[in-house]
C-alpha cells in the first residue's frame, strides 16, 4: 500500500489520536498522541512499512509543539522505498507512552536510550534501564533544561587525598 493511502486510512480510523499532518522538504510527518502509538505503528507495519529505521525524541521546550516531548519514529518500506516520520507527543507531567518492543526488537535499546537521555518512560518495556549513563546518574542530559555548560556533576565527585596532593593542600 502506498504512503498516501495508509495516511488517509490512519486519519480515518484513528481520528482520536491524529493531531495533524505536515510536510517538510518532501517528507511526510504525522503527529499523533502518545497513547495511540501501538495502533498507528501496527497499521503502518501491516501496510508494508516493515523497517523501523530510527527512534529518538525531541524536547519541544522552546521549539513549540503539541506537548513538551515528542518521540520520533522513522519508518521505511523496503517494498516501495518510501519513508515516513511519526511524532508521538507526551506531556511533561507524565512522560509515559507504550513500548513498541513487541513490534520491532530494535526498539529495545533505542527506547532505553530515549529513557536515559530524555527521561521518557516506555510502558511494557522488558528492561528499561539507563544505557549510556551510569545507573546512579541524576538528570536527563538531552532535555533542554539540563545545563549545556558548566561542571555540575564534576563538583560532586569525592576528593581523594593522597601523596603529593595532600602535601600541597596543607602548605
Amino acid at each position: 500500500m502506498s504512503l498516501e493511502k495508509t495516511l488517509s486510512q490512519i486519519k480515518g480510523s484513528f481520528s482520536d489520536y491524529v493531531l495533524g499532518l505536515t510536510e517538510y522538504a518532501g517528507e511526510q510527518i504525522i503527529h499523533i498522541k502518545g497513547q495511540g502509538v501501538i495502533d498507528v505503528l501496527k497499521t503502518f507495519k501491516d501496510a508494508g512499512f516493515n523497517f523501523l529505521a530510527d527512534l529518538t525524541a525531541i524536547d519541544n521546550l522552546t521549539l513549540g509543539g503539541f506537548e513538551r516531548f515528542a518521540v520520533v519514529y522513522h519508518l521505511l518500506s523496503h517494498g516501495s522505498a518510501e519513508r515516513v516520520t511519526i511524532k508521538a507527543y507526551v506531556p511533561e507531567d507524565n512522560p509515559v507512552l507504550p513500548s513498541i518492543e513487541l513490534l520491532w526488537k530494535t526498539a529495545d535499546w533505542q527506547e532505553r536510550e530515549v529513557f536515559d537521555l530524555f527521561g521518557i518512560e516506555f510502558e511494557g518495556h522488558p528492561n528499561l534501564t539507563r544505557i549510556m549513563n551510569p545507573d546512579d546518574y541524576e538528570g536527563h542530559p538531552l532535555r533542554k533544561d539540563y545545563p549545556r555548560l558548566g561542571r555540575k556533576e564534576r563538583y560532586d565527585f569525592p576528593v581523594i587525598d593522597r601523596g603529593i596532593q595532600k602535601q600541597k593542600r596543607t602548605e
Partner: protein
C-alpha cells in the same frame, strides 16, 4: 582418594566479564557473560563507556563546526560521516551542490568504505589468529589514508565537507595516486581471499557462527553489509540514491546464510564494487567549482586568501561570527546514507537559529550491536570475538 559423585560437583554457572579492555572489543565495550562450561548461555552487553554527549554538543555548535564532531564518531570512515551530515544540513536548507562536489564526495566515501572494510576483515582475522591478512589489510589502509592526507590535510579528522560544498578541491594528479592505490587494493583483496576463503580453520571459525535470519535482521533494524549477508536486497546507494549515486554502475553484494563467513564475503565483494565506483567517478569527474554559491552569503573563502590577504580574513570573520552566517529555515531533515556499517543518518531539527535545535545521529553500530546477545547465545566463548568482529562495532559511534 575419595570418589566425587556427580551431586558433589559444582554446577553453578560462571560469570565472565568480557571487556571493557579486552583486545578484541576494539574500543570500550563490556559484556557480562554467563557460561556453562565454555558455552555462553546469556550475554548482557554494557555500553556507554565512550559516551561523550555529541548530540548535546551539536546544540551549541553551528552547522559547519559540527562537521568536526562527526569525524570522531565512526573514526574508521570519517569522510562518510562528514558527507552524511552535510547532506542532512543541505536538505534542511534546501541547497543545491555542484556536480563536481557530489562526485568527489562519492569518491571519498568509497575510498573510506574500502579502508573500513579491509580493516574490519583484517581485524576479524587477527582476532581469530590469522595475522597475515591483518597485515595486508593494514598496509593498504595506510595507503588510502595517505590519499586522505593529500586531499584533506589529515588522516583521521578529515572535516572535508562544508554545508553546501567541500573544504577544498582535490589537488592535481590526485587521480593518478588514487588509481595506483586502487590497483594495490585489488591485489590485496585477492591476497586476502586466497588466504582465507578456503582456509579450513577460517571456515570452521566463521561458518554457521552468529546466524541472523532475514526476519530477525528486519526486526532488529540491521542494515548495511550485515543485512545484505542475511539476504536483504537493500542498498541505500541503489534504492534511495543520494549525491549522484544513480550515475554509477555497480552491483549490490548479497549473501544468503547470514553467518560471520557471509558477512566477510559481502564486505570483500563491496571492496571490489567500491573500486569500480572510484574508477568511474575519476573517469566522469565533471569540471567546475566545489565551493558554495557566493550569493548565499555564507561560503568560506579559500584558506590561501584567509591567511594571506586582509580582505579574505575580514570576510572569513564576517561569515564565522556568532551573529552572522547561515540561518536555516524552521524545519527538520533526515537523510539516510549507506555508510560502511549500514544506514547512517543525521536527523537535524532547526528552530531558525544559527545552531541546530537538535542533532540526532542514527548510529548503525549501536543498532547492529543490539542483536549481539541473541547471536552469542549457545555459542562457545571463543566465538564472541568472531561475532563482535563481524558486527564491526565502532565505539565512538556506538556511544557518541
Amino acid at each position: 582418594m575419595t570418589r566425587v559423585t556427580e551431586q558433589q560437583l559444582e554446577t553453578d554457572r560462571m560469570i565472565l566479564n568480557f571487556g571493557p579492555h579486552h583486545p578484541s572489543t576494539h574500543g570500550t565495550l563490556r559484556i557480562i557473560m554467563e557460561l556453562e562450561g565454555e558455552t555462553v548461555t546469556k550475554a548482557t552487553p554494557e555500553i556507554g563507556y565512550l559516551h561523550s554527549g555529541f548530540e548535546k554538543l551539536g546544540e551549541d555548535l553551528d552547522f559547519n563546526q559540527y562537521i568536526t564532531i562527526t569525524d570522531r564518531m565512526n573514526y574508521l570512515s570519517p569522510l562518510c560521516n562528514n558527507v552524511a551530515y552535510a547532506l542532512a544540513a543541505e536538505k534542511l536548507m534546501e541547497l543545491e551542490v555542484s556536480k563536481r562536489t557530489e562526485y568527489i564526495r562519492v569518491l571519498m566515501c568509497e575510498l573510506s568504505r574500502i579502508a573500513d572494510h579491509v580493516l574490519n576483515v583484517g581485524m576479524l582475522a587477527v582476532d581469530l589468529g590469522a595475522m597475515t591478512a591483518f597485515l595486508y589489510g593494514f598496509r593498504v589502509r595506510e595507503n588510502i589514508y595517505d590519499l586522505f592526507e593529500i586531499a584533506t590535510g589529515t588522516r583521521l579528522t578529515t572535516s572535508y565537507t562544508l554545508v553546501g560544498g567541500l573544504m577544498r578541491d582535490i589537488p592535481e594528479g590526485f587521480d593518478k595516486a588514487v588509481l595506483k592505490v586502487l590497483d594495490e587494493v585489488d591485489e590485496v583483496a585477492n591476497d586476502i581471499e586466497t588466504l582465507l576463503n578456503k582456509n579450513r580453520i577460517w571456515q570452521n571459525r566463521t561458518k554457521n557462527i552468529g546466524i541472523i535470519s532475514k526476519e530477525n535482521a528486519i526486526s532488529y533494524g540491521i542494515s548495511g553489509p550485515m543485512a545484505r549477508a542475511s539476504g536483504i536486497d537493500w542498498d541505500i546507494r541503489v534504492n534511495e540514491p543520494y549525491s549522484s549515486y544513480e550515475d554509477f554502475d555497480f552491483d549490490v553484494a548479497i549473501a544468503l546464510n547470514g553467518d560471520v563467513f557471509d558477512r566477510y564475503l559481502v564486505r570483500m565483494e563491496e571492496v571490489r564494487q567500491s573500486i569500480k565506483i572510484c574508477k568511474q567517478s575519476l573517469d566522469k569527474m565533471p569540471t567546475g567549482d566545489v565551493s558554495i554559491d557566493p550569493d548565499l552569503g555564507f561560503n568560506l573563502p579559500p584558506k590561501d586568501e584567509v591567511y594571506n590577504s586582509i580582505e579574505g580574513l575580514i570576510y572569513h570573520f564576517e561569515v564565522t561570527m556568532p551573529n552572522r552566517g547561515m540561518t536555516p529555515p524552521v524545519g527538520e531533515a533526515y537523510v539516510p546514507t549507506e555508510s560502511p556499517n549500514g544506514e547512517l543518518a543525521f536527523y537535524i531539527i532547526s528552530d531558525g537559529n544559527r545552531t541546530p535545535y537538535r542533532v540526532r545521529t542514527r548510529p548503525p553500530s549501536l543498532i547492529n550491536y543490539s542483536i549481539f546477545s541473541k547471536l552469542i547465545e549457545g555459542h562457545m566463548l571463543s566465538d564472541a570475538p568472531a561475532i563482535i568482529g563481524s558486527i564491526n562495532v565502532i565505539a565512538g559511534e556506538l556511544d557518541r
